[in-house]
């Protein structure tokens, strides 16, 4: 399925339509108010908008869903970011005594960006992605999702496609939202294995014993490695790639392997040789894990710690449009993770077009409805709320709904607890 050709120049025309008919405000509000368990949670949330001509405005906040809708429909932001819940309404922060205006809570977030893998992917670089390197995102999601749930005990994770070259994770559990900056930083560091910049050739060194977290992550990587690295990226095929891989192996082993490779061209067989070498060396003094280190360096998720650290850090909102690609930042359903195709994600031009094509049909069904007159006032509202359902956006909003249902179950418990404490009957 190909999306309608998206032209950034059309954004000024498409955005108003998007915000009037398609953006899922009800679900959005449902999410960010978190069941009303905490008073003013929504009202004290910071949003930032990037408007036409790169005008950037921070400290936007809204009292109700209605106000949010009206403002967004008025401003038609090119980009929307979500920030923290503050101690006061962000749009009034200038009136607050300096020092008192504090960021209090925010979801724990992660940002995985494909450019951080440029040194290990041969198919693309910089802002480009393709189906071959997208597997890196799949691996990242699997590893991090497992760790955040099993190790840290988080349950409400929303994975979102960023619209161009990466994914974001929003951890919405109450405990996550209340984490301090130090705690966020600790979580992010726990999850980081790939260390080093331009000046480091070898970015991972494993020592015994291998922590259970690394063991679990390796299982995931091992599952994808043969297809992704050996076949699609062909890391043991071309000369330069082979050299890069061998640079990660101790010198003595490297020479032996280079000799073996003279006579063995098949990548799978070459990989087996590397693994055999690693195992062979294990009988001597120290165990060697260079085969695992290679797999991790090529596949393990690379997160930007700075995004996760700050309580007040602003991150692109789900259902925001990416101005360069036109794609909507949609939630990703992990049940279909292996089939997720970033190029199949609807663009704003596509869904607007789908909307246009619907009108004639809708008119027909309406006139056939005998209850038409009674519901006249409601239909405008209902029509607006149902519009996204008739576009490619539908399944993503549905998934978001399911996510919110899960969250809602946790609020119910909270509300009950609170009302018990207040002895409300």
């Amino acid at each position: 399925m190909s999306s309608s050709d998206y032209d950034p120049a059309c954004l000024p025309d498409l955005l108003p339509l998007y915000y009037r008919r398609l953006f899922p405000f009800a679900q959005y509000y449902r999410w960010l108010s978190y069941g009303g368990v905490q008073k003013s949670y929504f009202q004290n949330r910071e949003f930032s908008f990037t408007l036409k001509d790169d005008i950037y405005v921070r400290y936007q906040s809204f009292s109700t869903q209605n106000e949010l809708e009206k403002e967004m429909q008025k401003m038609n932001p090119y980009k929307i970011d979500i920030g923290a819940v503050y101690s006061h309404r962000p749009n009034q922060h200038n009136t607050v005594k300096s020092g008192s205006f504090q960021a209090l809570e925010k979801e724990l977030v992660f940002d995985i960006d494909m450019t951080d893998y440029d040194d290990v992917r041969s198919c693309c670089s910089a802002a480009d992605i393709c189906s071959k390197c997208w597997t890196l995102m799949t691996i990242a999601i699997r590893i991090l999702d497992r760790a955040l749930r099993d190790d840290f005990g988080f349950q409400h994770l929303l994975w979102v496609y960023s619209g161009r070259r990466g994914v974001h994770c929003w951890v919405c559990d109450e405990a996550a939202r209340k984490l301090s900056a130090a705690a966020r930083s600790a979580v992010a560091e726990y999850l980081s294995l790939v260390k080093g910049g331009e000046e480091n050739v070898k970015k991972i060194v494993l020592t015994d014993p291998i922590h259970p977290f690394i063991g679990e992550s390796l299982s995931v990587v091992e599952h994808y490695f043969p297809q992704y690295a050996l076949q699609e990226q062909d890391i043991l095929g071309r000369r330069e790639s082979v050299d890069k891989v061998l640079a990660l192996v101790p010198e003595d082993v490297r020479r032996e392997l280079q000799q073996f490779f003279q006579n063995e061209r098949n990548p799978e067989k070459r990989w087996k040789l590397i693994k055999d070498q690693a195992r062979a060396k294990q009988t001597t003094a120290k165990k060697r894990h260079f085969d695992k280190e290679i797999m991790l360096q090529y596949c393990y998720p690379r997160l930007d710690i700075n995004v996760s650290k700050g309580v007040n850090h602003l991150l692109k909102s789900p259902f925001s449009v990416h101005p360069k690609t036109g794609r909507i930042s949609v939630p990703i359903d992990l049940k279909d993770l292996d089939k997720f195709d970033p190029f199949a994600v609807p663009t704003i031009s596509l869904i607007c077009e789908e909307l246009d094509q619907l009108k004639p049909e809708e008119e027909q069904t309406k006139s056939e409805d005998s209850k038409e007159k009674e519901n006249e006032k409601d239909t405008a509202e209902k029509r607006k709320n149902r519009d996204y359902k008739r576009t490619s956006l539908a399944k993503y909003v549905k998934h978001f709904d399911q996510f919110l249902d899960g969250l809602a179950r946790s609020w119910k418990g909270e509300l009950l607890r609170k009302s018990d404490l207040q002895k409300e009957f």
Binding site: D118, A183, Y190, G196, G197, E199, H211, P212
Partner: protein, 505 residues
């Protein structure tokens, strides 16, 4: 019964009854009256101590014997409690009071707080480890850290995971108790992945309980400092204290190389040649990356941009410099003005909270924000692969024996000494005659040596400047004694600076 034969004339000090514990969380502030001179003396001694803690932390392995010995001798020399089995109420009292005084001086900014917390945590760690197991348990219970142990069955079930996750800890065996603690209470262990995590709980062996305690200490101190900051205006209105507290926090930064004196003394055309001659390796690397890629990421822009500010680039020059570079890359003039100019003006204190950011010291570059893929910032001696570092040094024409000397120093984690060696080799001098702690210092020393061009002055006026500042405030009458006080203290803290600059660590 020992009677301290010092200035105190009291026979038995009822206050010493308060100091029965070898170690404390500093939960309660001291409630007694003390003389101004004792106030000063205690504060300066503790500051000395914390600076030793800092320097030792950078140049030595934190749990090693050298480190322990160094701290012990410093504690002893400065009259602080150094052996927790000996009852020394006087020293404990000094410890207590001096801690709270420094809180006043170090609560004001994020940087000061971070520094203070880091050193106090390191000091606390050293002292906690010196406690006997019995004392440790007592400490835990007295401070309400009741953590739960896991059952035998759970231990058996998680046997492999528990053993495989505690490699940093010596002597971990399943016979000992394991505590189940919410992960938020064990951040240091989580951060370094030294503990098994399951469903939000960290499984901690008894021997690692130190980390928990430290985490707790750190959190408490952080909160306390925030509270202290709020009551600061009241403290500052006491004219006896204000000059002293200012000196204390300035002597930490010492020379901050904010470049106020040097603005406009460097021209953009000089930068390329200066980079080759007088920039430390970290900045040379950043400059090269900028020239080659016409771009630098945020971390690199901050480190390099602030350095340039420190050597004397004005805001206008900086904007021109960065724009000229970025335009040759993928950024057009408009985008630069919108996206990057803000960052640069922010560095010069013209945006946001208008803080005039100071160039990063070596300590900061080495210890915070390590570079990752696509970054060129950091300290090359700390963050580069030794192989690549070697190549780079060879490229910059350092002799093979010089390269080896540098690599040896790097191996021993003496990154600043390695950089100093680099200075000596590239400037052809035997002895650099200064103790490197700041990239801008490197620049200044280099320019001095090269007899260099513009008038680059060493900023030794910090004590006098603060004195002028404090003299400018408040009624003239009360200034007299305070001015005398602050001058005395200025001398004391100036000595502190030179003492540390001479320390070879």
């Amino acid at each position: 019964m020992q009677f301290a034969s010092r200035k105190k004339k009291l026979v038995s000090n009822p206050k010493t009854e308060l100091y029965t514990e070898p170690l404390q969380f500093y939960g309660q502030p001291p409630l007694e009256n003390i003389s101004l001179s004792e106030f000063e003396a205690f504060a300066v001694d503790r500051l000395r101590l914390l600076k030793t803690v800092e320097n030792s932390g950078v140049s030595m392995v934190k749990r090693g014997d050298d480190y322990k010995k160094k701290l012990e001798s410093e504690l002893k020399a400065l009259d602080f409690p150094y052996r927790e089995d000996v009852e020394e109420p006087e020293k404990r009292r000094k410890d207590h009071i001096s801690h709270f005084i420094l809180r006043l001086a170090y609560c004001q900014t994020e940087d000061l707080r971070r520094w203070f917390i880091q050193q106090e945590v390191d000091l606390f760690r050293h002292r906690f480890k010196g406690l006997s197991p019995k004392q440790k348990l007592e400490f835990l219970h007295k401070n309400n850290l009741q953590y739960n142990t896991i059952s035998g069955e759970e231990k058996e079930q998680l046997k492999n995971e528990l053993l495989n996750s505690s490699h940093g800890v010596s002597g971990v065996s399943l016979e000992h108790d394991f505590y189940k603690v919410p992960f938020q209470d064990a951040l240091d262990l989580v951060r370094t992945r030294k503990v098994y995590l399951k469903e939000g709980y960290a499984y901690i062996p008894q021997s690692e309980i130190v980390a928990i305690v430290l985490n707790d200490f750190r959190t408490r101190l952080s909160k306390a400092l925030a509270l202290t900051a709020r009551s600061l205006p009241a403290v500052h209105s006491d004219e006896r204290l204000q000059p002293l507290l200012n000196h204390l926090s300035h002597s930490y930064f010492g020379q901050d190389y904010s470049g106020q004196k040097n603005v406009g003394k460097i021209s953009l055309e000089q930068i390329d040649s200066l980079a080759g001659k007088s920039f430390p390796l970290c900045m040379r690397q950043l400059h090269k990356a900028l020239r080659e890629n016409h771009h630098l990421r945020y971390g690199g822009r901050m480190q390099y941009g602030l350095f340039l500010k420190g050597i004397g680039l004005s805001l206008e020059q900086a904007l021109q410099f960065w724009k000229m570079e970025f335009i040759q890359g993928k950024v057009d003039a408009d985008k630069f003005d919108k996206a990057f100019a803000y960052n640069i003006r922010h560095m010069f204190g013209k945006e946001g909270k208008r803080a005039d950011y100071t160039p990063y010291s070596c300590m900061k570059v080495i210890l915070s924000n390590p570079p990752s893929q696509g970054d060129y910032h950091g300290c090359p001696f700390r963050h580069s692969d030794p192989e690549l570092l070697k190549q780079k040094l060879q490229f910059y024409k350092v002799s093979p024996s010089g390269v080896n000397q540098i690599l040896e120093l790097v191996k021993g984690m003496h990154y600043q000494l390695a950089c100093q060696k680099y200075f000596e080799l590239t400037h052809n001098v035997e002895d650099s005659a200064f103790s490197l702690s700041h990239p801008n210092q490197y620049f200044i020393e280099s320019q001095k040596l090269l007899g260099g061009g513009k008038d680059v002055k060493r900023e030794t006026e910090t004590p006098q400047r603060s004195q002028e500042n404090s003299a400018a405030k408040g009624p003239a009458a009360a200034r007299e004694p305070a001015a005398v006080e602050s001058q005395h203290l200025a001398e004391m803290t100036a000595n502190l600076e030179t003492d540390f600059l001479k320390t070879d660590f």
